[in-house]
Subunit: 261 residues, 2 copies
């Protein structure tokens, strides 16, 4: 029987990206993860800053940001250019052999322009397909893929895509060939029952407890789609998911939220 090798996926959000010092510490910790690993990064504030400085006005519909052609140019240059290459160069300095990718590179993540009945989100893509064989080849050749949240439609169009979704779709696809742990790193120590109290971390959640906590109202609003997404990934083969501050990557005793079916 083939035993699957372990693979650690880490998704970092904008708050780490925006803090150069924090990012440097995170990348040093990430580099120390043993075995195969993949990084997915969000955008941070620099795309909005750049958009403003060249005179773009954010387009919002029903409180959702719309990615028009001009905004797409900005997110591509900031996410796939500035942030991705800066991260790759820093990982190389940490002796991690990283390669930065958008979904267009190697057709690694193909998506479809979102077709919503009432809102035109613009150049936003929903993931359709991950090129697992090529990713497997790269990873087993000791490459550490670093993904930004840009995909493509295989018809020449780049598309802005949610970074959390990319992380979970990559985790699901790669769980066919690896034993995958997915880590969502953000500024909090985990899923909190009281958002203002960092000591209220729920350290273990399974689907039964999740249902109970939702009913009680202890988990609500933005955390619900995030956790739904996690349980979906677990049901599709991802072994384990952790949510918390990135110090959990190096310290097995650090408090965080572990999610299992």
């Amino acid at each position: 029987m083939d035993i699957k090798k372990s693979l650690t996926l880490v998704k970092i959000g904008g708050n780490i990206i925006d803090d150069a010092n924090e990012l440097q510490h995170f990348l040093a910790d990430f580099s120390k993860i043993e075995g195969y690993k993949v990084l997915i990064h969000g955008g941070g504030k620099s795309a909005t800053k750049m958009a403003k400085s060249i005179g773009l006005v954010p387009q919002m519909v029903d409180g959702r940001r719309i990615t028009d052609a001009a905004m797409l140019e900005v997110v591509v240059m900031i996410y796939a250019g500035q942030i991705n290459k800066d991260i790759v160069a820093q990982l190389q300095a940490n002796n991690t052999n990283a390669i930065g990718f958008s979904g267009a590179d190697g057709n690694l993540i193909q998506s479809e322009k979102r077709n919503h009945p009432s809102i035109d989100y613009g150049f936003v893509g929903d993931v359709q397909k991950v090129n697992t064989p090529l990713l497997q080849t790269l990873i087993t050749n000791e490459i550490t893929p670093v993904f930004c949240a840009i995909t493509h439609d295989k018809k020449g169009q780049l598309l802005n895509t949610n970074a959390d979704t990319i992380a979970s779709e990559l985790a699901i696809a790669l769980s066919e060939v690896f034993d995958v742990t997915l880590n969502y790193c953000f500024e909090k120590p985990g899923v909190l029952t009281d958002v203002d109290d960092d000591n209220s971390v729920i350290q273990q959640i399974n689907s039964a407890l999740y249902s109970k906590l939702k009913q009680e109202g202890a988990i609500h609003s933005g955390m619900i789609p995030k956790l739904d997404n996690c349980f979906n990934s677990l049901s599709k083969g991802v072994q384990k998911i952790k949510i918390g501050h990135h110090k959990m990557l190096q310290n097995a005793n650090a408090i965080c939220t572990s999610i299992q079916l």
Copy 2:
């Protein structure tokens, strides 16, 4: 005896990049090249345009552009982000399995910050080392690498690097394992004896004819470092170099300049 497989390297300059229609035609032609191939692209005018629109003033010393920290950010986002990912997405639409790279990715091109006795060029890198084994692995896995002119120093610093030099350094390194033809594509049909007459293409040059044409003054100014660079690449193992309009890639009878030792 191992027979080396053929590899075609193509370098395109800013004039193709700046013309969306021309770029699209070029990429369709490039995709039709049979066998292993690599693309290297320059920058075009969009970096200068972006720099101006965010209020940067080009820094020049002795007529040479200086890449200060702010300008480096711009060239990274435009070259490695916008241009590189747009090219990759278009190649994918042409069924060429391209991956876009800076030199930092996979430590593919390591360089050293230029240390000039009198001019501080800023964040400009001179190529030191190409990661030939990884490039060979990628290419023989049917990947078409697409390089922008950004490298790194392996200490976390990205560096702006001349695209012609990247093309020739990649050609030299890859000639260890492939039978390499390097094509420099630009807006002219080849090396001209009269810059205003497109019919004055020198169709074949070897080092003896080159010396003679230089002495006669038929080849002068900017073409001399370009051709010196070509003869250097040929002396280091590159099989053949062609200079001309990109139509030479698909039409073996198209007039262009062929350079051989």
